[in-house]
């Protein structure tokens, strides 16, 4: 099975992708993750202004048959959430890396960036999970 991966992003072992930019970091779930969940029906977004630690649950992504947690890959403050997902959660299925972004964070601990997976590491991870 071919899953889309972007080489300009970082990843986590829990299938989030991370786009690191100067002021903000954007986070979503990978193509593999959206495929595992199936058609997404609802996203429970966090409040903006919320400060969350790495490893805590930021959002809940529901499909008909499963629930996935968006786990914070980095600690920080939620600055923006993707309001379009409220009415059209299916965007995550059709465009997981683009319009299907979920939250934007102002990160607090830059050393946590070292724990993220590279494109290659993540590719290997998916391949092993597929077996």
């Amino acid at each position: 099975m071919e899953y889309e991966l972007r080489d300009d992003l970082k990843y986590t072992s829990t299938h989030e992708w991370v786009k690191i930019e100067e002021t903000l970091t954007t986070i979503g779930i990978s193509d593999y993750a959206q495929h595992q969940l199936g058609d997404i029906v609802f996203v429970e977004l966090p409040d903006t202004g919320l400060v969350l630690e790495k490893g805590s649950n930021a959002a809940e992504i529901e499909s008909v048959k499963a629930v996935g947690d968006l786990i914070m890959p980095l600690s920080g403050e939620i600055v923006e959430v993707n309001q379009n997902l409220i009415d059209s959660p299916e965007i995550i299925n059709t465009s997981p890396y683009g319009e299907g972004w979920i939250i934007k964070v102002k990160i607090s601990h830059t050393d946590e960036l070292n724990d993220l997976l590279s494109y290659n590491d993540y590719k290997i991870l998916i391949e092993s999970e597929e077996k």
Partner: protein
Amino acid sequence: MDFIPHDDDTIADMLKDLGINDILDLFKDIPKKLLNTEFDLPEAMSEPNLLKKISDISKKNKLYSSSFLGAGCYYHYIPSTVDFVISRSEFYTSYTPYQAEASQGYLQAMYEYQTIISRLTQMDISNASMYDGSTALAEAAIMSTIITNKSTILLIEGIHPEYIDVVKTYCWGQGINVKIIKEEDLYNEINEDISSVLIQSPNFFGDIIDMSLFSRKVRNLNPKCLIVQVMTDPSCLGILNPPGATDVDIFVAEGQSFGISPNFGGPGLGIFTAKEKFLRKMPGRLVGKTKELFGEQEGFLLTLQAREQHIRREKASSNICTNQALCALSALVYLLSVGKTGLKEIATQNVQKSDYLKKALVKIKGFKILNQRPTYNEFMIEVPNLKNLLIECKKNDLLPPLDISHYFPNMVNTALVCVTESNSRESLEKFINIAKIVSEVTTG
């Protein structure tokens, strides 16, 4: 009795196919010392013998000709249509409708149930039922703490004592603090840390609370606090202002009054409704309407299952699986059978008849009506000699009112009287007569 269809030849054939001689070979995974075929159980019975035995046991319960007892379980007439429908085995022997295409009948009925309950209560959404009123209230309390992220709830005095106990047990399980307060202490007790306020109306003692006023009070004190109302006899919704019109956030009720026999207290029906915005936090099954994938027909299915335990497991807000589907079906048939006119008339008669009795009792020396507010079909009386009253009732084939000391040991000579549309004038006069006699004997 034996419900196994195989004869010995069939079993022998099957064993042969399996390549074994003895059926017990199929249990070889069980450690030998656990194999136990010594059970001290009675001999099997055939149907006529069984029926006689159980019938005889049943006669040790007394069936009265008329009842003055309520307190959470009510005698209302049950239309013949109800048992007709729930006796259809396509309904009562069916499984939870997970395979929607083979269960459209039941799913449609549950959708109709959700609709009719929503209209009756004027609440946005109803689920397909919880176990009963008491557990529905407990689950509502938990749901309120999940929504607000606060862990203290207030219970207003006047909730059915058994319901309070159930709420306490459930809340203890999750570390939720429960505080029982008087309605007048609301001002002092509501603060930012309170998740919700739970109130029963009409309450255990019979009082109808002005819920519009109550809700406004709560909102003024803390707009984030949720208002949870419970009802033990929702037949009053035939005439009383429904929770949806009084800004209640979560409304639960015991639905036994809607076509379910008393059955010694169970099964009941946990009616569970809430405002639209709380949909995703609602426990229990939900039936939704949708279209075919490959066609144009509309149909029904269980939806939003991702809230429930079989998907969310330990992240579910409730563990509920089996609900009370057949009881919900009873309620649906009941409400349709009596209809708008019927329910209004039933509720009106409940009020008229209990008012009739109240007015008569208050004239009797030594009898006091303790309720200060309007009541629906239950009210509290103080009597000169309650023990005698109860004995005389039983002698006259009347199921006596509740001796309140059963729940409140300090309240002596006080009873909770219930009068419904099923109390004939004759039974009311009998009761009044008994009251007069008791009064004369006691007060001279």
